[in-house]
């Protein structure tokens, strides 16, 4: 059984709100986990520092059953919200959450709160990364002279697949004659192979590249060496190669976290799903200020964002 | 003779005093005194495990003594490693050869020596010097041959050359004759005499008393790690030495009762086979052994004995020809089926092929029968039956072991040999193939093995005795076959054989008619 708590009765000032997060990679991966870590730091500042929001994390929890142990442990320590930041953690949550009915859990990236299974204390959050992918795709298509664009991915699933599907759609919508070559290297950590994949793309004529997950830092370096343009996602990668990074889709998880915290403080423990979108500001396209982006490209990007926000542009993603 | 160590001082005298060396559970050397003078051959005698090798390894810097001191040319020395001993002019040829089989002869010799060309090896120069040295001492070798391609006798030459090359003037030869043919022993003795003539000194270890008596000036006998005494060779005899070593009288001529041979139990017909290297090793060998008969197979090692034994045992498929056991054609049978039919096999390299060293004595006894009742039922081992069997064998064969659970690797060489023998003979074999069954054994153990083989003969078994020791063959065999380069040169009744004639046949000199 879980520890009984009565956080809803407690006045906000009485004690800090406590969040624990379990992440699959390191908090400085320049990608998925770092974006969550930064969101928590930002949220902490916004809420008024450690006195108001306390958070702890377990990083590199790529072993699914270790993550489950961590989640259970945090739950029994009476955290207010436990975030399982990885789609692979879903089934663990599904099992643990019912044992701690007074604790809230959050699962990303997904839309599934297990409401159908009768569980009411799980939130879900996802990033509609295909949106930023689409915008990046539009810009990539316009900037590419060769009409060949390369993508480096880890394995063909999850967040990576969403982003890449969106990116492809964006390119095609802009230049139907363009060619998007996709390379999944089969790993989230093999930077050397990611770099070589980027080189292969360049050999195959690509003059614009993008990619997703933490191993792409290897590909960014290659792009830099060859003066080929790069579009980033998940975190701002401009610092790696200020000359060639055009823009990044940046995740701001606070957009999902804030309403969750509010809900919990109001006694709602779960059942809702949040999406980071361009519309709600959870996703933003951050242009690299050091990159001299032609005005018409930027305008097209802004127009695309607008189109996605107001629903004019539908992005086809999903099933095989 | 210019060697890299030509500056090495001549050893005029070595004195070891009060040497004590303990191993867990054993005092290998217990206050042993030993000395060697320039120009002398000093033999070291003792049963298996008496401490001979240990004493010499201490002198060579391989082991450090727990107590005692060593003096070279009157000055006390401590040898932290063989390098120190080598620098003093001491060299050792080990009981178990210390050669890197994958390297060439010249490389083995050059190993550890600085090169005249600095960063690059000077193997040609080493080879040239090696040839010169070989000529000087009558020890010819091919410097560019790989060691694994050499016969045992040749390997021994390399060992001696290695030592001489380093300028040693005191040579320790630890059982150098155990694996040599009589001819090779003669050659070795010639070399030893030549070296002594040049002012070198030699420590000679052997279990063969006649060798010791013929080559050495003085003899020291060890027993159970203690020194029994030192005598001048001229002032003693075999019987006395044996008594010193064993502590009792030893018979040298085994009692061989007359037995009427029965039907042919083992027959090899026109067998051809290849060696591990793919070269022809047996070329049309035919041989028959009757029940109640010991046929000795004499020959210099490497002439196909090993392959013949393996073909009979079912471990090497012949390319041509048949093998019959008890009248049945078993050419296509696997090894274990032949063993079950009544074949016992005592392999030549028993440490490698005959026992599993980390296994207990009891486990080694069931090496062939671990799936058969009473030792196993439905695949499950039966500890009581195994234990009872082991105790019976340990008693019957007087194997010196703390118990059946002791790992075989803790036993002495002679006792390991007894384990193999006991296992094979306990299966009531009808046919026995025994390869070099007494090699490396002390006289007590040798006597015992001989008695066992004769007892099996008396019980009606057919025995094929493969040995390089002509004395052994002459003492035991009813008929003697000689093998040379994969062919049987001749088969003689024991009565017609003598060492000279056999030696000629073994050297491949065509049938000595008359």
């Amino acid at each position: 059984g879980g520890t009984q708590q009565a956080e809803t009765q407690a006045p906000e000032e009485a004690r800090p709100f406590r969040i624990a997060v379990v992440m699959p990679s390191a908090i400085n991966d320049m990608a998925f986990s770092q974006s969550m870590y930064e969101a928590l730091v930002k949220l902490q500042q916004e809420m008024g520092g450690p006195d108001k929001l306390e958070f702890v994390y377990s990083e590199n929890m790529y072993v699914v059953d270790d993550a489950a142990a961590a989640i259970r442990d945090y739950a029994s320590q009476g955290y207010d919200l436990i975030i399982a930041h990885g789609s692979q953690y879903g089934s663990s949550l599904q099992e643990i959450a019912p044992d701690f009915p007074n604790t809230s859990f959050a699962w990303g990236t997904t839309v599934d709160t297990f409401a159908e299974q009768g569980i009411d204390n799980v939130f879900a959050y996802e990033a509609r990364s295909e949106q930023g992918g689409y915008v990046n795709g539009v810009m990539a298509a316009m900037l590419s002279q060769s009409g060949v664009i390369g993508v480096v991915g880890p394995i063909e699933t999850g967040d990576a697949k969403l982003y890449i599907d969106g990116f492809k759609a964006g390119v095609m919508a802009t230049n139907p004659n363009a060619q998007v070559n996709v390379n999944y290297i089969g790993s989230f950590s093999d930077v050397a192979l990611a770099a070589e994949a980027a080189k292969t793309h360049i050999e195959a004529g690509a003059d614009v590249l993008t990619g997703t997950a933490q191993m792409v830092v290897g590909a960014v370096g290659v792009a830099k060496d060859h003066g080929v343009l790069w579009f980033g996602t998940q975190a701002d990668q401009s610092s790696l190669a200020p000359d060639i990074v055009v823009a990044n889709q940046v995740y701001d998880w606070t957009v999902a976290l804030k309403p969750m915290v509010e809900n919990i403080q109001n006694g709602v423990r779960g059942g809702e799903a949040y999406s980071l979108t361009l519309a709600n500001g959870g996703l933003t396209i951050q242009y690299n200020p050091q990159f001299d982006l032609p005005a018409e490209v930027k305008d097209a990007a802004e127009a695309t964002i607008q189109g996605i926000v107001n629903g004019d542009i539908q992005i086809p993603v999903g099933g095989e | 003779m210019a060697t890299p160590f030509s500056a090495t001082p001549k050893v005029q005298s070595v004195v070891m005093r009060g040497i004590v060396k303990r191993f867990p559970g054993v005092v290998a050397n217990d206050h042993v005194d030993f000395d060697v003078h320039q120009g002398e051959v000093h033999a070291l005698l003792g049963e298996n495990g008496a401490g001979k090798s240990t004493l010499m390894k201490i002198l060579y810097g391989l082991y450090q003594p727990d107590e005692g001191e060593i003096q070279v040319n009157g000055r006390p020395v401590t040898f932290a490693s063989p390098l120190d001993a080598i620098r003093c002019g001491i060299g050792m040829v080990h009981q178990h050869f210390m050669l890197v089989e994958t390297l060439t002869v010249a490389e083995n010799v050059a190993l550890g020596l600085p090169s005249s060309r600095g960063f690059v090896t000077d193997l040609e120069r080493v080879a040239a010097r090696l040839r010169a040295l070989g000529e000087q001492y009558g020890l010819p070798v091919d410097p560019h041959a790989r060691v694994w391609q050499l016969s045992v006798g040749q390997q021994q030459r390399v060992e001696i050359l290695k030592v001489l090359y380093r300028g040693a003037s005191l040579l320790i030869l630890d059982e150098p004759t155990a694996v040599l043919t009589p001819q090779e022993v003669e050659d070795l003795f010639r070399v030893i005499r030549q070296m002594v003539g040049r002012g070198h000194s030699v420590v000679f270890i052997s279990h063969k008393l006649h060798e010791v008596l013929s080559i050495s000036d003085r003899i020291t006998v060890l027993r159970d790690g203690r020194k029994v005494g030192t005598v001048r060779a001229a002032a003693t005899n075999k019987a006395e030495l044996a008594r010193w070593m064993v502590g009792r009288e030893v018979t040298f001529r085994p009692e061989k009762a007359p037995v009427t041979p029965g039907p042919v139990r083992l027959a090899v017909e026109d067998v051809h086979a290849r060696s591990d290297r793919g070269t022809p090793a047996l070329v049309g060998v035919s041989l028959a052994v009757r029940g109640g008969e010991i046929v000795g197979l004499a020959g210099v090692s490497g002439n196909g004995q090993r392959e013949l034994a393996e073909v009979i045992a079912g471990l090497r498929p012949p390319t041509q020809g048949r093998v019959r056991l008890l009248g049945r054609d078993v050419t296509a049978w696997p090894a274990d089926a032949r063993a079950d039919l009544g074949l016992a096999y005592i392999p030549e390299e028993r440490m490698r092929d005959g026992v599993i060293l980390p296994f207990s004595v009891a486990e080694n006894f069931i090496l062939r029968d671990h799936f058969k009742p009473p030792f196993a039922r439905r695949g499950i081992l039966q500890p009581q039956a195994i234990l009872a069997h082991s105790q019976a064998l340990i008693r019957a064969y007087q194997i010196k072991t703390p118990g059946p659970e002791t790992p075989v690797q803790h036993l002495s060489g002679g006792n390991i040999q007894k384990v193999v023998l006991a296992r094979e003979l306990a299966r009531a074999p009808q046919v026995i193939v025994a390869a070099q069954p007494t090699r490396g054994l002390d006289i007590g153990a040798t006597e015992y093995v001989h008695a066992q083989l004769l007892q099996q003969r008396a019980a009606g078994a057919a025995v094929l005795l493969i040995s390089e020791d002509l004395d052994e063959i002459l003492a035991l065999a009813d008929r003697i076959a000689v093998i040379y380069e994969g062919r049987i040169m001749d088969v003689l009744p024991a009565a017609e054989a003598d060492p000279q004639r056999l030696g000629l046949l073994m050297a491949g000199v065509a049938r000595a008619t008359g």
Binding site: D190, A192, E203 | I86
Partner: protein
Amino acid sequence: MGDWGHILLGVLASGIRLATPYLYAGIGETLGQRSGVLNLGVEGQMLLGAFAAFYVTYRTGNVLGGLLAAALVGLLMGLAMAFVSVNLQAEQGISGIGFYLFGLGLSDLLFQKLLGTVDSVRGVPDAVIPGLSDLPVLGELLFRHNWMVYGAYALVPLAWFVLNKTPWGLMIKAAGENPHAADSLGVSVARVRYATVTLGGVLSAIGGASLSVGLLKIFQQNMTSGLGFIAVALVYFGGWRPVGVLLGALLFSLVNALQLWVQVLGLPIPADFAVMAPYVLTIVVLVIVVQRARPPAALARPFERE
């Protein structure tokens, strides 16, 4: 036709590059194994080397300093491994796994505490050899890599030379085949093994550096991602000969380069199977080309006189 030529060229150039870290680590491991020591900690040494090189280069801007730092770190790791396997006679399989975990963790820890985030450096420059680099086909294939790539290939004849033409080579081989024989001639087996294992550590660390400041110019946690273990496997592939290791590294890398192309060209093969290809082929080649080499007889056996 020109297209395929272009692809072939691309595959070759990328294979040549990808083989670099395998060569450093594999040659180092070959020397160690020839002397009788199995080092499974290569991956950890590579990671620490990669970090040291990156960090020093990052802080000082001096890539030579970075390489020196990597060598130093490799030296220390090699000495530690040598101490454990030679003096303490520890089971080499597990102690290697221990060193791997140690290197994996420590490199990551230092990365987090000293750098904090992924960043890039200028790193080792590409060779631009006037004339040669501009040759039409060969120039791209052979003469436009960074200097560390050439270093890796230069190691192969060097290691061959040391093993087969020098007194040290004799001692190394003897220590690995029959340490008792070497010992009985006054060769210090311990010293030989210390030398090879330490040198192996240095080379592994340099191999790691060839990633962090050579090929990629970044550092990321666990950036070797199993590469060190493949390097060990390639030593077996190569039959403990430097040239064999070279062939193995090239085969593995070329197939890897090829599978990247297969994906880029959009051939209808699931990516997972493409990624699998180098591993499968390495085994298949060994089955077809019968491997005759035997491991050094004393491999992974601690040496003790009594």
